[in-house]
Symmetry: D3
Subunit: 200 residues, 6 copies
Amino acid sequence: MTTDPDRQPPELPDGPPTALDLPPADPLPEDTAKYFAVCQDKLGMVPNVLRAYAFAPEKLRAFSGMYNDLMLAPSGLTKLEREMIAVAVSSINKCFYCLTAHGAAVRELSGDPKLGELMVMNWRAAALSERHRAMLLFAEKMTERSHKIEEEDRDALREAGFTDADIFDIASVAGFFNMTNRVASATDMRPNDDYHAQAR
Amino acid sequence: MTTDPDRQPPELPDGPPTALDLPPADPLPEDTAKYFAVCQDKLGMVPNVLRAYAFAPEKLRAFSGMYNDLMLAPSGLTKLEREMIAVAVSSINKCFYCLTAHGAAVRELSGDPKLGELMVMNWRAAALSERHRAMLLFAEKMTERSHKIEEEDRDALREAGFTDADIFDIASVAGFFNMTNRVASATDMRPNDDYHAQAR
Amino acid sequence: MTTDPDRQPPELPDGPPTALDLPPADPLPEDTAKYFAVCQDKLGMVPNVLRAYAFAPEKLRAFSGMYNDLMLAPSGLTKLEREMIAVAVSSINKCFYCLTAHGAAVRELSGDPKLGELMVMNWRAAALSERHRAMLLFAEKMTERSHKIEEEDRDALREAGFTDADIFDIASVAGFFNMTNRVASATDMRPNDDYHAQAR
Amino acid sequence: MTTDPDRQPPELPDGPPTALDLPPADPLPEDTAKYFAVCQDKLGMVPNVLRAYAFAPEKLRAFSGMYNDLMLAPSGLTKLEREMIAVAVSSINKCFYCLTAHGAAVRELSGDPKLGELMVMNWRAAALSERHRAMLLFAEKMTERSHKIEEEDRDALREAGFTDADIFDIASVAGFFNMTNRVASATDMRPNDDYHAQAR
Amino acid sequence: MTTDPDRQPPELPDGPPTALDLPPADPLPEDTAKYFAVCQDKLGMVPNVLRAYAFAPEKLRAFSGMYNDLMLAPSGLTKLEREMIAVAVSSINKCFYCLTAHGAAVRELSGDPKLGELMVMNWRAAALSERHRAMLLFAEKMTERSHKIEEEDRDALREAGFTDADIFDIASVAGFFNMTNRVASATDMRPNDDYHAQAR
Amino acid sequence: MTTDPDRQPPELPDGPPTALDLPPADPLPEDTAKYFAVCQDKLGMVPNVLRAYAFAPEKLRAFSGMYNDLMLAPSGLTKLEREMIAVAVSSINKCFYCLTAHGAAVRELSGDPKLGELMVMNWRAAALSERHRAMLLFAEKMTERSHKIEEEDRDALREAGFTDADIFDIASVAGFFNMTNRVASATDMRPNDDYHAQAR
């Protein structure tokens, strides 16, 4: 068991969160500073995606507003289901940041470490319910060839028990990670190292 | 010149904005009603994307917050440049809604109807400046294979004169339309008919 | 509303029709000169694709012979249907010339400007008859993965009411635009500016 | 060495040339009958592509006119070079008809059976001159993603010694086989069995 | 009929079998020398793939062991069926070595030269039995997008009469050529010239 | 933290290793039984890939022979480098079995859990040496489009310090996992649950 000498050392917790030279607003506006303190308190860290937006607090507010509505607000989808969509989409787009952070969330929310790995690696290898299979098939088609979605694709979700409001949420979450995956890759966004060992 | 009998009649201005059965909140919250009134006043219509979100005013607020920051707030990118990215990305994803609405915006902002068509059809056929070519090459790579973006791709933007804050904005706009293209296609979102004839 | 200073001025009507340095035969043979005069008279312009071939009148004759047979001769397909195939194929291949010229033809022949946009942007977003949907599905498969066409694909056309002669015509038109899209892109063929405003 | 019982017997020389029920014009027009007699005399067969068009003599004339100009008329490209393009394009599109007929032509014109196989299987495995490599790279890009062709692609041909007229011919031949490959696959066009053993 | 002056002369039978500078072990171990002598005796040549591995006799033994088990040992699949899979897979991967060597094997084993060409060019153009069609559809999906294989794909093979042991063999042969195709292309492995004329 | 009721319970350690009904030879041949006992002793488990082959001990011997030569025998590549190739290839092919088993091996051999995640998720996000970057670029091209590999690709490896024997090993390992990824997905091969928690 040898260390690979070619690998760089782990990022310091306060290293830059992306490859862009965009230092955080200094001082942080009060609401942002408070938000980060809450993160540190509840999560033990400030997720780097938030640190990445800290150079422009109004962008951080817009991003957080959308994220919180999609992933945390009441919905016909459980939080775990929303995280499963997040990871399945991120697997297609091969986004290191989102696979790391949301893979951990799937492990945590499900209490099933293997489920997190399955979403990262290949959701088809999981023994999923019909509901979850339909949900991920739709998210996959949205990711790979959204322009070919037709009414029969929406009907497949309805047949699996989803309401039209649920379909809107599936579409919104799958769409959102098609955004963040690309922003993260475009800026070389780096996930906090803490995620890797969480909920294994 | 004959009418194709197979085509359905044009959507009524108050027809459903998507294929989902999600009627607007009734009554609309005061801020939403006011926002729609401003749209009607300034644009002559309420864009259907806003009507699509009106079933859930808090989602509408989150979406509008992000949209307005990205497309309308001060930036090192002109509004036209942001619309050019929007359309070039939407062309790859073949999103009818976004190509229609933002193609009109490119025609309007540039005063050059042909430029709008070029962004919709194939931006490489346009005689673009090096700056705009670099910008659209990056947005294209983000759309087609974001996981292969590397430092040399960001450096190409820097060499074309973009700052790191500009790169963040290019990434954010290209990312955003990779989201909205997919949400629009997933829900069969229908653009207002008015766009087609605008700024021709 | 500002003009983008990076855009080049519109092509002069007698600017070169492609990026290749191939001036027209001088003088034009009598039949070619007459053909161009008829175009000018009936269409108000000589389409640039014809000007592109004018360096080699025998090539122009061969091309026109095939074009006229496919697009204008009697067929079980209406002229509009043939133009719909032309544009749907050109949308996949992102051919600026053909989308511009034949998008205008769809608008003109249908009297429905929105139908032209739908063919350019994403035919699946159009509310098409079963006949037209089957026709465009076949043309799309021919364009994207012709080697996987099987008898069941032809049978789907027969079930939609097409005869075997119609199938030959659908295949011929879809095939033809897979040729011209590529020749136009390979030579940077430039559509006449007049098309953009036609039949809006 | 056993015969596979699942294979159907070889096509009779007068079996239908495609999967479409389109019997030849009866009687054939005089010029067509004469053309077929010349083929039989010089080639020992009437190529099935001509028989496929015989249901509509005017279509046959248009197709032959274009084919003969492209493949047989004087050009800066040798006939062998045009056939090499034909086969390299057909290999990408996996067209059984064109690979069979034009693979035989490459073997025949070059006197090098292995060259025919290389064009059918993978032209990159051939030890080609810079000229031929540039020519096939351009034809390949036209076939796979024509919308991304730019001036630098044309310049690569110029640097390899091709004139602008030659570039037009390369584009025309590569374009033509992108048409015929698709028409052949769409109609299940069957090559004459004689080709397989020719010039081995 | 002219020779193309740009083509290099045919490889000498003792020219290097790949683009890598890896001369054979000297002397060859006894078992390898004997194996090569048997090949020469029975096939009239030592296949270049074996010569390519001769620099490392233990790698040759491992490769031959796997090859012989897959292609020559008793199986529910005939040897011809295994060769059909080999060629259909190699056609997708465009491997010159494997298409040449195993195309010859299909011609030889079937006594049907056209069948060999069909496997090389496009197996869908062959008039195959349901059994063979199911077999090649599975091998194709394994080659193009193995991560999307599901139980219904295996069930399609069972319905076509294959046992689970047969499915293992189909998977193993299709997998094996996805390996050798890539190794051959990665090393520019060159098939013996003798294959081209065999069993025509 | 709730358990998802839709997930099936974890596989029993003696559950079937694939979706195929192929029970192990009974009794196992002596060499196989001994091999499995050694695995159990040294690894704490018999890897399911070996159990999957146990229905046909001669196939198990052929597979193990090749595997052991490639991954464990002396080579210019370290064992970690070979595992990195294995995982990077498996990431493209989205093979759950290989990503799980060999992702664990990268974590174990490197002592760097994050490196294992990077290979699974997106190797481009890792801060790799030029040597490792060149190695994985070659393996990636072999996996995605091996038919386009040319001498310049091999030269890039030579410039990164690899010998021709090393190139053979890179090609062999990348090729091998393009086989096993497909066989694993084709048979729904299930990794031992123990891997998930190893070396985190």
